[in-house]
């Protein structure tokens, strides 16, 4: 990952310069300069993301590879933020206004982000489940000559997939149908075995969540963004600004993850959080946010909340067209139609491969973000500790 490499060298640079100036009077100037640079880097990185989001070959907005880049950007910004916040700063400054209020608020926010990371990482398993079902369809439809058996096998997998994808928040009844080959037993829950199945299906639903009942990704994001206010007047420069920038990035990244991956309770997910349009560094973030929000609204109208992950959407689109094919399938198949289907199957197969390759690293990267957040938080807390100015911390 080239982005991560950049970050290393960048950090070196900043820390060396800092050490040089730390004893000099130009400290404040240096700080302003660093801050300037930080804003520029944030702007550049998100501009990159914005331009990649235009990609139409499957690596665009909210694709696995785009999300991975987004997480890279997060890690880079976070490293830089930490350098600005901590290097060469007297720890006691953190316990004085405005940081005494902002830093605990920030920590509050990142602890919420940790839960989002866990929920999303867990929900990636659901996406893997989509992939698994799509793979069955691919395996069946790749066979030549194609026969009724393969088509029906593919259709069954795709139907299960669609049920999964269509699931609305809190519904679980459809699992019962999915679980059984012919959808026949769901109507017959009176036999003891039927009852077992129904129960197990509803259990399975709760299984797919990792958090406590009532935990909601949407609310979590809401809470993270609730006290996000741009610093004003005298506070608008260092050190309040970097905290605000990093907060905004954190909220945005978590929000994008939640929008993409179907994690626990996304009902009422924000489609907008206030980022001041005057801020230069925020332009691309705002643009991306609008694009994602647009997508989200579209999906919501269709009541499909499987997540905006590009690959998921592609699977859904291809899956629907293949179901259509399967429904009208008659032996012997029409050759033209078969060619068309082959293209779709190949694309679906390609998408599955992409998921197979990308989902685990994505999960690992989410985990890395988790680690990084924890580590930074610990470092700041330690610093406060050492300063001996431990306020009754709420962190």
């Amino acid at each position: 990952m080239p982005a991560t490499d950049n970050q290393g060298s960048f950090l070196n640079r900043i820390s060396i310069r800092r050490n040089q100036v730390v004893s000099m009077d130009g400290n404040h100037e240096q700080e302003l300069e660093d801050l300037e640079l930080f804003q520029k880097h944030v702007a550049d990185r998100f501009a990159d993301l914005l331009s990649q989001s235009e990609d139409t070959l499957g690596d665009g907005l909210l694709s696995i590879s785009w999300l991975r880049k987004l997480l890279d950007v997060f890690l880079c910004c976070e490293a830089e933020y930490k350098a600005i916040l901590l290097l060469g700063r007297d720890p006691s400054q953190i316990s004085k206004p405005p940081l005494d209020k902002l830093v605990p608020e920030f920590h509050d926010r990142v602890v919420k982000a940790l839960d989002v990371c866990n929920a999303v990482s867990h929900a990636v398993e659901t996406v893997r489940n989509y992939q698994k079902l799509a793979e069955i369809a691919v395996a069946a439809l790749e066979q030549r000559p194609i026969g009724d058996g393969q088509v029906r096998r593919a259709k069954k997998a795709l139907n299960s997939l669609m049920i999964l994808l269509e699931e609305k928040e809190g519904s679980n009844h459809k699992w019962t149908e999915r679980a059984w080959s012919f959808g026949r037993r769901s109507t017959n829950a009176t036999t003891s075995s039927g009852k077992d199945r129904a129960t197990s299906a509803s259990q399975f639903r709760s299984l797919s969540w990792s958090m406590s009942r009532g935990w909601s990704a949407a609310k979590q994001i809401q809470a993270m963004s609730s006290n996000l206010v741009a610093p004003r007047g005298g506070e608008s420069s260092s050190p309040a600004l970097p905290v605000y920038i990093m907060s905004t990035i954190t909220v945005f990244v978590m929000w994008a993850l939640v929008a993409a991956i179907p994690c626990q309770e996304r009902n009422g997910l924000l489609t907008h959080f206030p980022v001041s349009k005057q801020l230069g560094w925020a332009q691309s973030i705002i643009a991306l946010q609008e694009k994602i929000a647009e997508e989200w609204k579209k999906k919501k109208e269709k009541n499909r909340l499987a997540g905006l992950l590009e690959e998921t959407q592609r699977i859904e689109r291809l899956g629907l067209s293949l179901i259509e094919f399967a429904d009208s399938f008659q032996f012997p198949p029409d050759a033209d139609r078969l060619d068309e289907v082959a293209v779709h199957v190949a694309e679906l197969g390609e998408t599955c491969k992409k998921m197979e390759k990308g989902l685990v690293p994505l999960q690992q990267q989410i985990r890395e973000v988790f680690h990084r957040i924890v580590r930074s938080r610990t470092e700041v807390l330690d610093l406060l500790d050492q300063g001996g100015k431990v306020t009754a911390s709420t962190m």
Binding site: N118, R153, A179, W180, S212, F331, P332, M395
Partner: protein, 639 residues
């Protein structure tokens, strides 16, 4: 070329059987399960599937010879068979999904909230006054003691599978694997499952098979989780919980983790092997990981949530318990999750272990900080042992109980001196020769005692009476020494050299006390100034002598009244101190009385001047350091 009379080929017959069980076709097929019925039917069905499969694979080889429609028909049939087998597979699995029985969960019978009586703290309950502003929860002392007992009980727990050797208590935590697989599914059912899996895999329906397997077993694991009391909690939830509640949960989680890894997950793994082993490459692993990955991570997340919760001293021991529990489990985790695809689980367990270790280190340093900065300023009445001293000493004796773990975790020396530099608000610790060769942990403990004393010295300055300040230091340092001596582990780490130093310190405080109080009093009993020079008759100034007796009486009375309210809680120390006082006071008074009594007795109202006999004084000294309440009239001991 060979249409014989009997039109029904084995293939036709096989197709017939499979179509008969097509549940889309007949009511009977829909209602009944093959594997619930006659074994012969089961065998017939499986043979039929094999027959079709055989024929399918031979047609694939020479596909030219068979017509497309034939093959399509067979394909259709095999699909029907596979759908059927998938349902059968699910049904067999479902009928064996009862969660683990209580007896399998060897650690589950836990009267968890057994003995929590936070009633009394200790003999001297003056916390009310002192609580304000204390950063440390000094009321923890008792809890710490409880925790200790609990831990000792805990050592024996789970004896059935953890080979807790008696004796060296902590070493038992290093025992390795105690994986105990149980049969989740009876062997005849396993045989059936395996027969079905074999056919599904042969027909290329592995993915479907894994899907079914995973979905059923996941909910079985989930049910066992709930039975074990493992909750789904977010980090936010954990941070919001009161520590008391959390402690109880942690105890449960530790037990649950052991059962999960050693029994639950291990048994799931075994089940996968029983069904899928040798049917294909790593299918058993794939199924196993699919089933338990989510639950395993969920379990570890709980541990992780604790490790990143706000650090505060009272959490240290539960964190160490978690750390130890996880550390003992790691070898088992590595075995159970040996599969390549389960790597992330192993990694996460290791990460959380190191995070717990880090938390423990962080808390220790937080504790040191808190001891140093503990801000209460109201002097304890009577100069007795400060709650802080009790708390800190209980705390570090408990630390010494966790010695084995902590020695490995604490690898750097305390950051005395270096960190604070010439800061006058922190003590210096000379790493003198006597501290050579000590473990970092021992140095930390000594450092804690150093900063405790430093803090206490600061507190002693708030006594208006310097004698009382010395008595306070004496009491507290003596208590420190007693606590160290009372714990073999602690004593070994602190070492006799440092203990000697501490002993010297409270002796010095005792001496200082005696000086501060008694030099003044004994000064009244000196000869100088009483003899009137040039006088032959008596040579003693009566008026001066009367003044002396009066001031002695007043002073002693004052000291007596005051110091009877003071407290030396340790009986032996109290006794020694009184003896030491008597040894100085009584001979001096006796001899003074011997020399000058006649001068007073020959005058008027001698009882106004000689208020005490030697015996009176001796008796009065017995009132010292008893901690009588201010209001209570001091007992007059009449002999």
């Amino acid at each position: 070329m060979e249409p014989p009379e009997d039109k029904r080929t084995p293939l036709d017959e096989a197709e017939g059987i499979i179509l008969r069980w097509d549940s889309t076709a007949s009511e009977e097929a829909r209602e009944k399960m093959i594997f619930d019925s006659d074994r012969n039917e089961v065998d017939r069905y499986l043979q039929a599937v094999d027959e079709i499969q055989r024929s399918l694979s031979s047609t694939t080889i020479n596909s030219e010879s068979s017509s497309n429609s034939d093959e399509s028909g067979l394909n259709s049939t095999i699909r029907i068979a596979m759908a059927r087998l998938e349902d059968e597979f699910r049904n067999i699995l479902l009928s064996h999904t009862a969660p683990l029985e209580a007896e399998s969960m060897s650690f589950s019978s836990d009267p968890s909230s057994s003995t929590h009586s936070h009633g009394q703290i200790d003999d001297h309950e003056d916390e009310g006054e002192h609580d304000q502003g204390l950063k440390l929860d000094l009321n923890m002392s008792l809890k710490l003691a409880e925790q200790r007992e609990e831990r000792e009980e805990g050592e024996g727990e789970g004896g059935d599978s953890v080979a807790d050797g008696a004796g060296s208590s902590r070493s038992s935590y290093r025992t390795t694997s105690s994986i105990r697989e149980i049969d989740l599914v009876p062997s005849d059912a396993i045989y059936d499952l395996r027969s079905i899996a074999e056919r599904m895999i042969a027909a290329g329906y592995l993915r479907e098979c894994i899907q079914v397997y995973g979905s059923v077993r996941k909910s079985a694991v989930d049910a066992s989780f709930r039975r074990l009391g493992i909750e789904k909690l977010s980090i936010g939830d954990v941070q919001r919980l009161e520590w008391d509640q959390l402690e109880a949960k942690i105890r449960r989680w530790i037990r649950a983790a052991k059962v999960c890894v050693r029994v639950l997950f291990a048994s799931e793994k075994k089940l996968c092997e029983q069904i899928f082993e040798n049917l294909g490459t790593d299918i058993d692993d794939a199924c196993f990981v699919e089933t338990v990955k989510g639950p395993a991570i969920q379990l570890f997340n709980l541990f992780e949530a604790i490790s990143i919760s706000r650090r505060s001293p009272e959490k240290l021991f539960k964190i160490l318990d978690l750390h130890d529990a996880l550390m003992v489990l790691i070898p088992d985790i590595d075995v159970v999750f040996e599969a390549k695809t389960a790597e992330s689980i192993r990694i996460q367990a290791a990460e959380i272990l190191s995070r717990l270790a880090e938390a423990a280190r962080g808390i220790l340093s937080e504790f040191e900080n808190a001891v140093l900065r503990e801000p209460s300023r109201v002097p304890v009445p009577g100069g007795t042992i400060h709650p802080l001293t009790r708390y800190v000493m209980n705390y570090i004796s408990l630390i010494s109980d966790y010695k084995q773990t902590l020695i490995e975790l604490i690898v750097s020396k305390p950051s005395s001196g270096t960190r604070y530099g010439s800061d006058p608000t922190t003590p210096d610790m000379e790493f003198a020769d006597e501290l050579e060769g000590k473990t970092p942990l021992a140095l930390h403990l000594i450092w804690v005692i150093v900063i405790l004393q430093f803090n206490l010295e600061g507190k002693s300055k708030h006594y208006k009476d310097t004698s009382l300040a010395h008595l306070f230091m004496m009491n507290n340092v003596h208590y420190i020494v007693q606590k160290v001596k009372g714990s073999p582990e602690l004593r070994e780490m602190i070492g006799d050299d440092y203990l000697k130093k501490l002993t010297g310190k409270f002796r010095q405080a005792a001496t200082n006390y005696q000086r501060a109080t008694w030099v003044r009093v004994l000064y009244c009993l000196r000869d100088e100034g009483l003899h009137v020079s040039g006088s032959f008759s008596s040579g003693v100034s009566k008026s001066a002598l009367r003044e002396r007796f009066k001031s002695f009486n007043a002073m002693f009375e004052d000291v007596h009244r005051n110091q009877a309210q003071w407290l030396v809680p340790d009986a032996q120390l109290r006794e020694e101190l009184r003896i030491s006082i008597s040894e100085k006071l009584l001979p001096a008074y006796r001899s003074f009385l011997g020399r000058f009594r006649t001068h007073i007795e020959s005058g008027k109202h001698p009882e106004n001047y000689i208020k005490y006999s030697v015996d009176d004084l001796e008796t009065a000294v017995l009132d010292f350091f008893e901690g009588y309440p201010v209001s209570q009239h001091i007992r007059r001991r009449s002999s």
